[in-house]
Symmetry: C3
Subunit: 142 residues, 3 copies
C-alpha cells in the first residue's frame, strides 16, 4: 500500500534567529502516518527560514549562526529594504543553508547516521511560521 | 493511481546572469500531468545554473545576485579556466544556492507559503539550457 | 509495480578533504534495484560531508575546495571545539554545499545533462563514513 500524507508544523520563536530541534516532530509524523519505507520532505513554507540536518551541540549552533552572519550579514542598505522590509539578510541565509531536506525512512524509522538531527532554522522570527512535512512511500500495512 | 511523469524546460537568457520566474511553468506541468498529491523535483540539468524558491521582488533579486558575486566572485585565476572555460564562478554560485528543489503538491496545487515562488537562476546564460521537472505521487483520478 | 529500495556506500578517504566521483555507483544501484522511472535520494549520513552534482574536472575540484576554505575556513576558535572536536569547519562546509541530492531516473537511466556528475564531498575523512541511496518509483517490470 503506497501512501502520501501531509502535516504542518508552526513555530513562533522568541528570538529573531534561532535553531529549533524538530527530529522528534518528524519522527512522530512518520509514526502517525504509518510510513514504512520512503521519503519525507521537510520544507519551510517561508523564505526567511531554513531546514537543516546537523549536530545537536549548542557550541556548534552558535558557530553556525555567527558564520551565517559573516556569509550573509544584516545590513541596512539592501535594495529589498526599499519595500519597507528589514530582513534581506534572512533571505540570503535561507539561500545559503537551504530551506528543505528529504529524510529517508526505512522499516518505519528515520534512516539517519549517528549524529544527524533535523533543525528548523529561524532567521526572522517572533511571528508564526510554518513547515510542511510530506511522506511518500509504502505504508506499514503493506 | 500512482504516476511518475517528466517534462523539460529550456531557457536561453539574454543576460549572462538572470533570475527567471518559473512558478507558473511548474504549476502548468502539475495540472497537465494530473498530480494530485506528491512531489515535483525541479532540477537544473546544467552545473552553472541553480533553481531556488524565494521572493518575487526585484530589489531582493538584485541583492541576491550581488551577494552571490561577493560569495562566489568572477575571477580570472580559477584553475578551471586552464581548460579554456571562463565560468568557474558560475559553478561556485550553483553550489552556493543549489540546483534543485522538491515542490510539494497537495490537492492538485503547489503547497506553498504566501511568498514562495520558484526561480531558475542562470549564472552563465545566453545559450539554451534545460531544467527537468519530474512528478511523483497520486494522480487526480485516484 | 512501484518499488522503494535502499543501499549504503562506505567511504574511507586517504585525505581529510576529498571529492570522490560516485556517478557509477549510483547508476549501478539503479540497475540493481530495477528502477525505471522515479527518484534516487543520495544522502550523506554524516554532518561533516556533502553530496554534490558538478563537473568532473580536476582544476574545478581544486577551485571548489579552495573556495570552501574561504567561505567556511578551518579555525581553532570555533565554540564546537570546546567539546574536543576539531572539525567545525567541516560542519559549515556541509551546510554550504548541502549533504544530499535527488537524482531523477527516466527509462532506467540517470536523467542528467551532459556535464552532471555526482560526487561525495569529504570534509573530515580518514575514517569510514556512509552515504545512503534510496530509490522510489516504478520498477522495470511495470
Amino acid at each position: 500500500m503506497w501512501i502520501s500524507k501531509t502535516e504542518y508544523l508552526t513555530f513562533n520563536t522568541k528570538k529573531e534567529k534561532e535553531l529549533v530541534r524538530i527530529t522528534d516532530m518528524v519522527d512522530d509524523f512518520v509514526r502517525r502516518c504509518g510510513l514504512y519505507d520512503g521519503l519525507v520532505l521537510v520544507s519551510a513554507m517561508h523564505i526567511t527560514a531554513g531546514v537543516i540536518v546537523n549536530d545537536w551541540e549548542s557550541g556548534l549552533h552558535q558557530d553556525i549562526m555567527e558564520w551565517l552572519e559573516d556569509v550573509a550579514p544584516v545590513r541596512s542598505d539592501y535594495r529589498h529594504h526599499r519595500t519597507g522590509e528589514t530582513n534581506a539578510d534572512a533571505h540570503l541565509k535561507n539561500l545559503t543553508v537551504g530551506y528543505q531536506v528529504v529524510i529517508p525512512v526505512t522499516k518505519g524509522e528515520l534512516d539517519f547516521g549517528p549524529w544527524q538531527q533535523i533543525f528548523y532554522a529561524e532567521f526572522d522570527g517572533r511571528r508564526p511560521k510554518k513547515v510542511l512535512m510530506k511522506a511518500l512511500g509504502t505504508g506499514s500495512e503493506a
